[in-house]
Each structure stands twice: as structure tokens, then as C-alpha cells.
């Protein structure tokens, strides 16, 4: 196996984690990862060095944007009562963060996950999303404020901003 393939393979677990948090649905997430890998393998010869990790995250982020666009017409269904008093603290916490993520605008969710979950630098995220660092920072700030508001039970801001 070439060095390129080894680098791609080593990234699969992290890509799955990112995709799961981004897409929320396990099958849709693995579809995203599979499409990312197929695209990456096909483009091996086009890949002229550089950071394979950022490149894979870029492909996945873009694929998800396309997927979201096609899902845009579907209403977002949220459970009315998802409080399970028997759930352990960690489970309840996991559900809270999942629910909060679901309410984020796509770009903001991606920034939050890339920075916090995947440990990317602001610079890397700016390259992945193809926007200036300032935009990354404002998306991150809005994402954090929104998630915090949702988790703490406040009414989230209804404004939809970049």
C-alpha cells in the first residue's frame, strides 16, 4: 500500500467521528465517508503533496454541503419529548449536545466540530471552508453561543446569520 493510501486509511476513524457529528445519522455519515474515500482514491494522482488530513476534511465538508442542499426541502424533525429520566448523566449530556448541534446552521456546525472535536487550527478551517479566518471566528463564536443557549435551556436566537 502506498504512503498516500496509508495516510488516507489512518484518517478513516477520525473522518467517521466528524461525519457522525456533522450528519447525525450513522448511515448517512458512513455514506459521506465512503464517498470521500472514493473521491480521494480517484484523485490520488491529482494530489500533489500537502496536508492529506485537511484535504480529506475538505472533501467531506463539501459533500455534506451538497447533501444538505438536497435535504433542505425536508422538514427537520425533532423529537418533542426526548427526556428520559432513567438515562445516565453522560447519556443525557450526549443527547443534549446532539440536540444542540442539530439546531446549528450548517457552516457553524462544521466550524465548531472541526475546531473543538477534530482539533483543527483556525487557519486550517478557513482553508477547508474557503473563507477568511475572521469568518471562521465569527462562525465559531455564534456556534458556541447558540449551543450554550440551547443546552442551558434558553430560547435560542432565531436570527440566521452567516
Amino acid at each position: 500500500m502506498s504512503a498516500f493510501r496509508q495516510s488516507v486509511e489512518a484518517m478513516i476513524p477520525a473522518l467517521r467521528r466528524y461525519a457522525r457529528a456533522l450528519a447525525r445519522d450513522m448511515d448517512a455519515a458512513d455514506d459521506l465517508v465512503q464517498d470521500t474515500l472514493v473521491r480521494a482514491l480517484r484523485s490520488e494522482r491529482l494530489f500533489l503533496g500537502g496536508d492529506i488530513r485537511s484535504w480529506l476534511y475538505t472533501i467531506l465538508t463539501n459533500l455534506n454541503k451538497n447533501r444538505r442542499r438536497s435535504l433542505a426541502r425536508r422538514p427537520l424533525l425533532m423529537p418533542l419529548h426526548d427526556d428520559n429520566p432513567d438515562a445516565s448523566g453522560t447519556e443525557a449530556e450526549g443527547r443534549d449536545i446532539e440536540r444542540a448541534l442539530a439546531t446549528l446552521v450548517e457552516e457553524q456546525r462544521a466550524v465548531l466540530l472541526l475546531v473543538v472535536l477534530e482539533g483543527m487550527s483556525y487557519r486550517e478551517v478557513a482553508d477547508i471552508q474557503g473563507v477568511p479566518i475572521g469568518t471562521v471566528m465569527s462562525r465559531l463564536a455564534r456556534a458556541r453561543a447558540h449551543v450554550r443557549a440551547v443546552i442551558e435551556g434558553e430560547r435560542p436566537a432565531l436570527r440566521r446569520v452567516k
Binding site: 476513524p13 458512513d30 435535504l71
Partner: protein, 256 residues
């Protein structure tokens, strides 16, 4: 050295939490937080948020990687895998019957193909019962129909010849699809059974053929070269497969 009297901005608080702050400013931020409890609480909330994200999702990275993401498998026949995906699954479907095929393609249908299939089934149900106005352009104006749909859909639309299965072109329509215009062609047999062929551009390059039934209709869908196809008809699987295979072969030959 930075000036500790300069107020700490929100951007700096984020940069502090994300380890993006220049080392010489960290001390200033820490003193600021000691003096500003509301900011300190915000920073603490962001840290808890990070912990919750890791607690919820890190386990995913430790799961065994599912076989369908095996690089060797995806890589073995890179070109054929892409171009022949639908053909291979159709062959498996014909050879093994639905049960075997479902096990073979255990991966979930890509959401995009699901959307396209849903639209096609809706259109099928809506128009197939229409006796007087099932289509916009009748089949005896086939050349005009193909030209029109090609222009409006932005890709070559050819109405496949399905005479070999006893089906005659009734005509076609232009429909709004999930990501753009869709071509919708209707065929009919001498006994009045109707099949429809729905096609639209999609972001999926290629996808295996999948079988769906809903109410009294059944559909075979796949994607090839960025076009999603759905052949819908009655629930007779063998018959549907015959028709889908003709559509598939002709789309292959004409290059889309």
C-alpha cells in the same frame, strides 16, 4: 510583551480556549478572567461543551471500521467500481433475488438517491392513473420531446426503446427534481400496465441499483455518471428488472 490593560476581546477568549492565543497574552487573559466572572463562566461553558462533544463522539473513532469503508475493497477496481457499480448490483439482483441482493448491498442507500426515488415514486403515482393527461408531450412527437427535455434538463435525454418488453412510449413531462429539473417518461403495454422512467442530475457520481416498494408501486433506482435513474412500475419484480435492464443498457450506450 502585550499591555495587560488592553481589554480582552471575545475573539481572544475563543483563541485562549482553542490554544490559538500568542503565549505572551495568555497571562493577561487569565488575569482578565479572574476579574470578570461572566467571561470566566463563558469560558468554562465552552470547555464543558468541548468535553461533552468528545464524550459523545470520540467513541465513534474507536468503533471497528465497517467493511464498506475498507480501502482495499474500494480500491481494488477503482474505475470499474465507479462505472460498473450499478451493473454489478443489477447482476447480483438478477442472480440472487432480492434477499441475496439486499444482503449483498447491506450499505444504506445514499440519502440523495433516496430523495430522487421518493420524487419519482410520487410522480409515478400521480400521473400513472391519469387517463386523459398523463404526459405533456405525447410519444408520437418523440424527437421533439427528447430535444425539449435535453434543453431543459441540461443533459442528453433519450427515451429508451422498450418495445422488447412490450412497452410503448406514451410521452413525457418535465418535473422539478430534488436538485434541478427531472425528465419523466411514461410507457404503456398493450394491456395497459404503465412504467415510468425518471432521471435527474444528482451529486452522486454512481450508486448501486436499489429496489424499493411503496403501496402498489415498485422502483429500481441507481446513479451513473452523475445522473440518478428511477424505473417505477408494478410490484412484479422480474418484470420491473427486465424493463430496468433495458433502460440501464441504453443509458450506458448513449453515455447518459
Amino acid at each position: 510583551m502585550t499591555d495587560p490593560t488592553i481589554p480582552v476581546t471575545e475573539d481572544e477568549l475563543h483563541a485562549y480556549v482553542d490554544d490559538e492565543l500568542p503565549a505572551e497574552r495568555r497571562g493577561d487573559v487569565e488575569s482578565w478572567l479572574a476579574a470578570h466572572p461572566a467571561d470566566a463562566e463563558r469560558v468554562a461553558a465552552w470547555r464543558r461543551m468541548a468535553e461533552a462533544l468528545h464524550a459523545r463522539y470520540d467513541a465513534v473513532a474507536n468503533e471497528p471500521v465497517p467493511p464498506r469503508l475498507d480501502l482495499e475493497l474500494l480500491d481494488r477496481k477503482p474505475r470499474r467500481w465507479i462505472l460498473g457499480a450499478a451493473a454489478a448490483s443489477l447482476a447480483a439482483f438478477l442472480a440472487g433475488g432480492a434477499a441475496g441482493w439486499v444482503a449483498h448491498g447491506a450499505a444504506s442507500p445514499p440519502a440523495l438517491l433516496q430523495n430522487v426515488t421518493g420524487e419519482a415514486l410520487d410522480a409515478h403515482r400521480l400521473y400513472v392513473v391519469d387517463v386523459r393527461h398523463p404526459v405533456e408531450v405525447p410519444g408520437d412527437e418523440k424527437a421533439h420531446l427528447q430535444q425539449w427535455l435535453t434543453r431543459r434538463c441540461g443533459r442528453t435525454v433519450q427515451a429508451p426503446e422498450l418495445e422488447a418488453t412490450g412497452l410503448k412510449l406514451v410521452g413525457g413531462r418535465l418535473l422539478p427534481g430534488p436538485t434541478g429539473p427531472a425528465s419523466f417518461l411514461m410507457y404503456e403495454s398493450a394491456s395497459g400496465e404503465r412504467f415510468t422512467v425518471y432521471a435527474t442530475k444528482t451529486a452522486i457520481e454512481a450508486a448501486q441499483m436499489r429496489y424499493t416498494t411503496q403501496d402498489n408501486a415498485a422502483a429500481l433506482s441507481w446513479a451513473e455518471r452523475g445522473v440518478g435513474y428511477v424505473v417505477t412500475g408494478g410490484t412484479d419484480r422480474t418484470r420491473l428488472t427486465q424493463v430496468a435492464r433495458l433502460v440501464y443498457d441504453q443509458a450506458e450506450r448513449s453515455g447518459g
